[in-house]
């Protein structure tokens, strides 16, 4: 795709206030499933305290790319990641660092709400802390409340924190999962179509949450909903068949895309 590389270089040079620094940088990242290249030589930089949307038709590699950013592919037997990913300047895939060290800085919210089924609401949020060794009840209480508030679900659950998490509605479960991810005090938040299984009201709540969180976190969100990308994100990346086609300020991607494909996609002409 011609001009692709230019768009990427532009980021940080023209459009962005240079005060913010890059939280995460992906350099020439390719991902293979066996021999199939699902993400092809993608280079992207993510500014601190910004929201970046990944958009593109189904199967273009959005999820696959997102899962590189916290080494989730380590779990997938047939997946192989190439290239470099830097978090605060440190190589995520460095051999001498346990991936757990980085994962604690990177929270993840999945497409389908997945609260731990045998745990209460409280225990779900506290899980990441407890199982990482935090025992002080007072601190746990504080962080649980704080996280649930940040995820905008506190008011709905504060009176029955002991209730099993799976008895919540889908939207509440997803916000609970956001709270669970926030509880380990990450600096980056990865979200894979967090609202795709939810009704419009729950979706709106999640979007409000994201906007609010962007003041503190670096958020990277996969979405197939273009209005959502417009509403929540500062930057948008359009992917197609594993390639990063265009990456720019959200406004520019949707109003004056440089690439023909991007233009067609954001107008809803394919995908």
């Amino acid at each position: 795709m011609d001009g692709k590389q230019d768009d990427i270089e532009n980021i940080g040079d023209d459009h962005l206030d240079s005060e913010k620094k890059y939280k995460m940088i992906a350099e020439n990242v390719s991902v293979f499933y066996d021999d199939v290249e699902a993400v092809k030589n993608v280079t992207m930089k993510f500014k601190e305290r910004s929201v970046t949307s990944l958009i593109g038709p189904s199967g273009c590699g959005k999820t696959t790319f997102l899962r590189c950013l916290n080494r989730m592919h380590d779990m997938t037997k047939n997946a192989r990641v190439q290239g470099r990913i830097l978090l605060d300047g440190e190589d995520l895939y460095a051999k001498d660092k346990d991936p757990i060290y980085h994962r604690r800085k990177v929270g993840m919210v999945f497409q389908k709400p997945n609260p731990f089924p045998t745990m209460s609401i409280y225990d779900n949020v506290a899980a990441g802390l407890r199982l990482n060794g935090v025992k002080d009840r007072r601190i746990l209480d504080e962080i649980v409340e704080d996280s649930l508030k940040m995820a905008y679900v506190w008011d709905e659950v504060k009176n029955n924190l002991k209730k099993p998490a799976i008895e919540l509605s889908g939207g509440q479960q997803q916000r609970l999962c956001i709270a669970r991810a926030l509880a380990i005090q990450p600096e980056v938040l990865l979200m894979d179509e967090p609202a795709s299984a939810l009704d419009p009201i729950a979706t709106q709540k999640i979007e409000e949450t994201i906007t609010e969180l962007a003041r503190e976190f670096t958020i990277i969100i996969v979405t197939h909903n273009m209005q959502q990308a417009v509403r929540v994100s500062d930057y948008t990346a359009f992917m197609y068949l594993g390639d990063l086609i265009e990456f720019n300020e959200t406004k520019k991607i949707f109003t004056q895309p440089k690439n023909e494909l991007t233009s067609k996609y954001v107008k809803g002409q394919f995908g």
Binding site: N70, M72, D74, M75, K77, I100, R103, R104, V106, G107, M108, F110, K112, N114, F116, P117, T118, M119, A127, G128, L131, N132, K162, P164, I166, E167, C177, R180, A181, I184
Partner: protein
């Protein structure tokens, strides 16, 4: 070219048209399923009724607590056999359950390789072994080596029956736990073993408990391996190193005797054995139902999950 609505109408005509006939087939299938259930329940139910009818008259405080009387006298009881069965189930579980659970965890979480496949294969072979072969094995390596029959040998033999069952059901239950929970754990920066033991295991608990109870039920009724290991006895417990009685042994001995009174006692012992196994099942399920506060206890007892 046909319009697409014409085409769709034609597709619809390809479906079987005979709706009434299909409803009849539906009813017949239901009937067959129902019939099979009845066919399975009738013999099971009649066995239970038979055991209950014959056994209940033998049961008394004396029967449950005394050592056996003289052969054919119809006196005495099955106290040592009850005690022996409880001890043997306890000891076998203490050996078989941890080994089985650990093997199951290994197979489910780390068994996707050559070693795992080998272990799984031998585990399955082991599960199919006739129990008498395991009895002979325990006889050779424990009874003959030590020179006497013992509870240890019996517990060893029965734990060999237990652990492959527990391993397999544990593996299956763990594999049923959706990947997404493991992924959530990884994203929280948890170590693999923490995820396995604190998240996956608790989600798989109900299936694992079913497997363990199944294996307890299975060993509770084993007779052949016990003949070659604990031998049988008419005395109460005197140490894990000595022979011991057990209900299946007692039932087997008494039912072979040509006296009506002994056979009645055999029925009584059978009833006691059934009640013990049932009681273990209910207690364990009740305990775990109460521990996990969700779902009502009845549905937990039935092994169902409330959604």
């Amino acid at each position: 070219m046909m319009s697409s609505s014409q085409k769709r109408a034609e597709y619809r005509l390809l479906f079987k048209q005979n709706v009434g006939g299909r409803l009849v087939v539906d009813k017949i299938m239901m009937g067959i399923v129902f019939g099979c259930v009845i066919a399975a329940v009738i013999p099971l139910g009649s066995i239970l009724i038979e055991v209950f009818k014959n056994g209940i008259s033998a049961i008394s405080i004396e029967f449950l607590t005394q050592v056996p009387g003289a052969i054919g006298s119809g006196e005495g009881g099955i106290g040592p056999a009850i005690q022996g069965t409880l001890i043997i189930i306890g000891m076998s579980s203490m050996i078989g359950v941890p080994i089985g659970v650990m093997s199951g965890i290994f197979l489910a979480e780390f068994g996707d390789n050559r070693l795992g496949r080998t272990v799984r294969f031998f585990n399955d072979v082991f599960m199919e072994f006739p129990s008498i072969v395991l009895g002979i094995f325990a006889f050779l390596v424990i009874v003959l080596v030590l020179g006497h029959f013992s509870l240890w040998a019996g517990a060893f033999a029965l734990s060999l029956i237990m652990f492959p069952i527990v391993a397999r059901t544990t593996e299956e239950s763990l594999k049923m736990v959706p990947m997404t929970y493991r992924e959530a754990g990884i994203a929280l920066g948890l170590k693999k073993w923490v995820i396995t033991f604190r998240i996956v295991l608790s989600a798989a608990k109900s299936g694992m408990i079913t497997g363990i109870l199944l294996s307890v039920g299975r060993i509770g009724g084993e007779t052949a391996p016990l003949i070659m290991t604990v031998l049988g006895s008419s005395q109460f417990f005197s140490g894990v190193d000595s022979p011991m009685d057990a209900l299946p042994l007692r039932i087997w001995r008494m039912s072979l005797l040509p006296y009506d009174s002994a056979q009645m006692q055999g029925w009584g012992a059978a009833l006691v054995l059934i009640i013990i196994i049932l009681a273990i099942n209910i207690t364990v399920r009740y305990y775990f139902a109460k521990k996990s506060k969700k779902g009502n206890i009845l549905s937990k007892l039935m092994g169902m999950r409330k959604k």
